[in-house]
């Protein structure tokens, strides 16, 4: 496999894609160096969605931060708040009840279903298979309805609070969830058959963008992208959080490492999700929803919190100075480590495969744009910590 070359090499033909592009719903800029139809190199320029959330969080208190961080990503909002809340609970030494843990697991798995269905609909759309796109999005409404009955909102659910959850399930909701899961399971079997048997779809996915196990490990791929290359890595299993002790998941892997394997892994993961959701909903433990005493000030210290977002490992670093707000919050979302794999796999492919390849890792730009590069001309600036601090104070005055 060819190596990545810089797209700024003047002697080659460069195809720029983005930031506004029909294939991607979010802004991102890519430059593909091509030799005829074949791609020889790729580079990405991210940062269009950088908003300054990490800095913004520092000026808020712990509770306000919860709602800001939930809006890092509208697709996996719940998992962001789990990561944040469980980090804080560890710092403040708050024990959350089994019921709250089960509730968090339930909504996280519902979210995984909606995220995966969203993804494979969009991926089918990029492959020119709009029928599948429309069908999956129609069926996705089942899980959106369930999320809406539970939380009252379709996208940002606000289920978590620091020290527990906000919501409980009523018996009617349990019945709805169980019947919804049955229906979705049937539909998903049908989709698995399409993805593995439909010849025109296989022509777009089989043997394209192959990433071997060694390469996936070297490039640091995470989540379903890595699991499709037979890397057995899942935070839900490796370091169980929330309710995954009580409701363990089985890791789904595939050995092929191509685009088809990524479809298959995600679809098979859904069966696990259906099983867990039905299990949790039917065996919901009794107990308090949230901890009685949640301090306004979190004790000083720092903590690392890891969870498995639909796209892979989500990583939070939270530092508290003992005050009412965070000193520093660092977020590393799963899309960022997966970019390396896309840019490497692109070499050797045809340009027409690029949309499928880009969508193959389920990119989420609003998640990964945690920084921007400000001096593209390459001029270096060196500031001491004191200078930087002074400028910061002056800037925000």
């Amino acid at each position: 496999m060819a190596t990545v070359v810089s797209a700024s090499d003047q002697s080659r033909f460069i195809v720029p894609i983005g930031p506004q592009h029909p294939a991607l719903k979010e802004p991102g800029h890519f430059e593909f160096t091509v030799d005829g139809e074949i791609i020889t190199g790729a580079s990405a320029r991210l940062g269009y969605v950088h908003r300054g959330i990490e800095k913004g969080a520092e000026s808020m208190n712990w509770t306000q931060c919860l709602y800001l961080l939930e809006r890092i990503c509208g697709i996996c909002s719940h998992i962001h708040s789990i990561a944040y809340c469980q980090g804080l609970e560890k710092l403040a030494d708050i024990e959350i009840s089994p019921k709250a843990r089960a509730m968090r697991t339930l909504v996280a798995e519902l979210e995984r279903i909606h995220s995966h269905m969203l993804w494979w609909g969009v991926a089918a759309h990029e492959g020119g298979f709009d029928t599948l796109f429309m069908y999956t999005w129609r069926d996705r409404e089942i899980v959106m309805d369930l999320l809406e009955t539970i939380s009252g909102n379709r996208v940002n659910y606000s289920v978590n609070v620091i020290g527990g959850v906000r919501l409980d399930l009523s018996p009617e909701q349990v019945t709805k969830i169980v019947s919804g899961m049955k229906k979705l399971e049937e539909r998903t079997k049908h989709y698995l058959e399409i993805v593995t048997n439909d010849s025109s779809f296989l022509a777009r996915t089989r043997g394209i963008g192959v990433m071997t196990r060694e390469e996936a490990q070297r490039l640091g791929a995470v989540g379903p992208t890595a699991r499709a290359s037979n890397v057995c890595r899942d935070v839900r299993v490796d370091a169980p959080y929330a309710g995954y002790h009580e409701y363990p998941v089985k890791i789904v892997t595939d050995t092929a490492g191509d685009l088809k394997a990524r479809f298959v892994v995600r679809i098979k993961e859904l069966f696990e999700s259906y099983r867990i959701i039905t299990n949790v909903a039917q065996n919901m433990p009794e107990g308090e929803l949230k901890a009685r005493r949640v301090p306004r000030k979190i004790p000083a210290g720092n903590v690392i919190s890891r969870v498995e977002a639909p796209r892979g490992e989500l990583f939070y670093y939270i530092e508290s100075g003992g005050g009412e707000g965070p000193e520093r919050i660092k977020v590393r979302t799963p899309t960022l480590p997966n970019w390396g794999s896309v840019l490497t796999m692109a070499a050797g492919l045809r340009l027409a495969d690029v949309p499928m390849l880009l969508v193959g890792i389920d990119p989420c730009f609003s998640c990964n744009d945690r920084l921007i590069r400000l001096n593209p001309d390459g001029k270096q600036q060196t500031l001491t910590w004191q200078q930087l601090r002074d400028r910061g104070i002056e800037y925000y005055r």
Binding site: P19, Q20, H21, P22, K25, E26, P27, G47, Y48, V49, H50, R51, G52, I53, K55, G56, E58, S59, M60, Y67, L68, R71, I72, C73, G74, I75, S77, L118, G121, V122, F133, M134, W137, R138, R140, E141, M144, R154, V155, N156, C364, F365, S366, I372, L374, N375, Q381, R391, G392, I393, Y395, Y396, R397
Partner: protein, 191 residues
């Protein structure tokens, strides 16, 4: 009230019955974008109004913009807007596009799309439900249908564009002091 000519009526009839839309995420969290996409799929079916999501700005009549307008996305937004043929309409979707929403005060966010584009319809919500998006777009189409004004050409509009620079305040490119929450915090620390 001045009666419109037959030709004007015919033009607006054509416009209202088949508006094509382009979608651009100017830094939102994806929440509005997936709801907008859900609006085009079978449950809500935006296409029954003749609205189709288009890839190219040159084919689009309506710009559906989401997100709080990050400093980097201002330039692409402006380009998309200038590339669209006249007459063109802008719909701002979501709380962020209206006011910055939850990101108000973040350093890289302009916070209000109407500061860079002439917005015709606002759809509030975080995110707005698909029904709300349909309602907002249909309200825009109704106002186009009923408007007595001649369609104005807006392509020569002077757009106020900020460059993404390290310290915009020092270069005098951002003058509005909208950083109050941060300032409070830093002043508190200094004392």
């Amino acid at each position: 009230m001045q009666r419109r000519s037959i030709l004007d009526q015919l033009k607006s009839w054509a416009r209202v019955n088949s508006p094509w839309a382009i979608h651009y995420n100017s830094g939102g969290c994806n929440g509005c974008d997936i709801e907008l996409l859900a609006t085009t799929t079978p449950r809500y079916d935006l296409e029954r109004f003749g609205i189709k999501l288009q890839g190219s700005p040159r084919h689009a009549d309506i710009l559906l913009a989401t997100g709080p307008a990050t400093l980097q996305s201002i330039e692409p937004l402006r380009r998309i807007y200038t590339q669209m043929p006249d007459p063109k309409y802008v719909v701002a979707i979501g709380s962020c596009a209206l006011s910055g929403g939850v990101f108000h005060g973040c350093y890289n966010v302009l916070g209000d799309l109407s500061r860079i584009l002439p917005v015709d319809a606002y759809i509030p919500g975080c995110p707005p439900r698909p029904e709300a998006i349909i309602y907002g777009i249909v309200a825009l189409l109704n106002s186009v249908r009923n408007s007595d004004q001649k369609i104005t050409f807006t392509s020569d509009i002077e757009l106020d564009i900020a460059e993404p620079v390290l310290f915009p305040r020092e270069r005098g490119e951002i003058t509005q002091p909208n950083r109050q929450p941060h300032a409070d915090r830093y002043l508190r620390r200094e004392s």
